[in-house]
Amino acid sequence: MTGNAVEAQGIVKRFGPTVALGGVDLAVEEGSVLGLLGPNGAGKTTMVRVLATLLPPDSGSASVFGQDVVAQASQVRESIALTGQFAAIDELLTGRENLRMFGRLFRLDRHQAARRADELLERFDLADAGDRTARTYSGGMRRRLDLASSLLTQPRMLFLDEPTTGLDPRSRIQIWDAIRDLVREGTTVLLTTQYLEEADQLTDRIAVIDHGRVIAEGTGDELKDSVGGQMIEARLTNPSDRPRAIEALTHLGCGTPEPSPSERELTLSAPEDGITMIEAAAHALREADIPVSDLGLRRPTLDDVFLTLTGAPATEDGAEPTTDEQHLQRHLPVSRADAPSPEDPGEREAAGAPR
């Protein structure tokens, strides 16, 4: 194999009393895509900023293609490109002017920069908007322009910090396609995301980061297996039925219920897949005379991975020990705000997808 494009050992970064990164080890194999998955405030952006030479770590070391991100920062900058969480484009310039300016700053001459700008506007479906100021662009157009700005010279290593957060599905798919093209052309990618679905779609490996530490690493399938396959989900008509419902379902072999923001909602890992499980669950609930307004099966979501990985009663990293309740307060509002809304039970089947 080709070796690692990025290697990081024991990266620590503090901001005053806050420990943003508490000793992160990371490796990205050349030509592959690593997803750094975590909620807001987990340390994803800080990690990307360290690797992209924007922020020196307090301790630990990191290298990109063997060059140290602190001592050899300017050499590292020759081979990387960064698309940050907030579109790093110039709003008062047109799309074309943005690309030409960044192209020239990437050391292209005037002519090359102009030609490359035209190509990229075409490729990212911005040709018609190329002469409008970026201020007038939609969120999706900004992100596409932002990504295009990273590709004026073919970077060997691309850092993408939440490339699709807040985008509509069509824009998201366009960004995904562009990333896949880049990977085919040989670019190594490290992307951060809050969405398991996105990590699943795009990455070869996923590192789950929480409170500044990598708490799990593996392929998407490995992570989902760690959560325990399918989940069964019920919405109770009467919240007071909750204990009885739990009893009825655990009797079938379901796991312990996950913390939930509402007494009505009940989520448990399912021992079996598919229609058999639904049938058994429906039967058990009817037998116990527990009315439900919704009952379904779904794949694990980011919430599930998170609650499973971080929801252990005692945290291992020595950070504040949390009860399940505190945990809920800490994690659920984050995933509720940014990940799929659970409000519409009919759409839970697609719950892993950001929207």
Partner: protein, 259 residues
């Protein structure tokens, strides 16, 4: 070394071009930063002219006295824009992109101060035009008139680097603006810009006498309408050189270490 300097200048020029475009694309900013200096020239000449005229040396009209001074007032106030512009850039993500690119570290700062210098020269030309319309004249010939403008612009450029530093350490554009005004107001008013220093109380005179603003005003005024040039001129050169020597490295260092 030479190659590196070449890249720095080229990158600085590209960023300056971007900042000039910004200026042109904000018609309100363009309008007010044009109207404001014109307004100052007219207001100060006509409002204070009568009161201050009497304390001027014989044969010097207040318009002739004021104009070189008010160029410096306007240039100094304008220098605070460097802090605001840089601070706004940092609030947006675009500085992060610049910093992750293989471009010269000082180019963003140089591009900002150079673009501000171009704006300053534009405003100076405009104010001189207005001055001519109300009766101001350069008395010492074209080379001296140009030297007078260069002195003002050079001082403004040096101030820009101080305010670039303010912009880099301020917590946001609003903070940068407030900090800029607090610093620039006393500096501008406790000087020979608007009135002869010997009309001030003695404690203020001692401050105004050593102020770089007074040196700049005296040099620009002497070059414009006559008087002792060399004494204030070497002081201005020392101030400009000193400020740049201290603040350029300080700004670049801070820029490298932005969090």
């Amino acid at each position: 070394m030479i190659a590196r300097l070449g890249w720095t200048l080229r990158d600085g020029y590209i960023v300056a071009g971007r900042n000039m475009r910004h200026f042109m694309r904000q018609p309100q900013l363009l309008l007010f930063s044009t109207v404001q200096p014109i307004m100052f020239v007219l207001l100060f000449s006509y409002v204070f002219g009568g009161a201050i005229g009497g304390s001027l040396p014989d044969g010097v009209s207040y318009k002739d006295f004021l104009l070189p001074g008010i160029l410096i007032q306007s240039t100094s106030f304008r220098a605070t824009q460097t802090a605001i512009g840089l601070s706004e850039d940092m609030k947006r993500g675009v500085i992060d992109r610049f910093r992750s690119m293989p471009m010269a570290r000082s180019a963003v700062l140089a591009g900002r101060t150079l673009a501000d210098l171009v704006r300053t020269i534009f405003v100076i030309a405009l104010m001189i035009g207005v001055g001519y319309a109300i009766g101001f004249r350069f008395e010492e010939g074209v080379p001296s008139a140009i030297a007078s403008i260069v002195v003002v612009a050079a001082f403004g450029f040096a101030l820009s680097w101080i305010f670039a530093y303010v912009g880099l350490i301020a917590k946001g554009p609003e903070a940068a603006q407030s900090a800029g005004f607090v610093a620039i107001f006393p500096l501008v008013f406790a000087s020979s810009i608007f009135v002869p220093v010997d009309t001030m109380p003695s404690f203020l005179q001692s401050i105004a006498d050593v102020s770089p603003v007074t040196a700049t005003a005296d040099a620009a005024r002497a070059l414009a309408i006559g008087g002792d040039v060399w004494d204030p001129l070497w002081q201005v050169m020392a101030w400009v050189g000193g400020i740049l020597l201290v603040f350029v490295p300080l700004c670049v260092r801070k820029y490298r270490r932005l969090q």
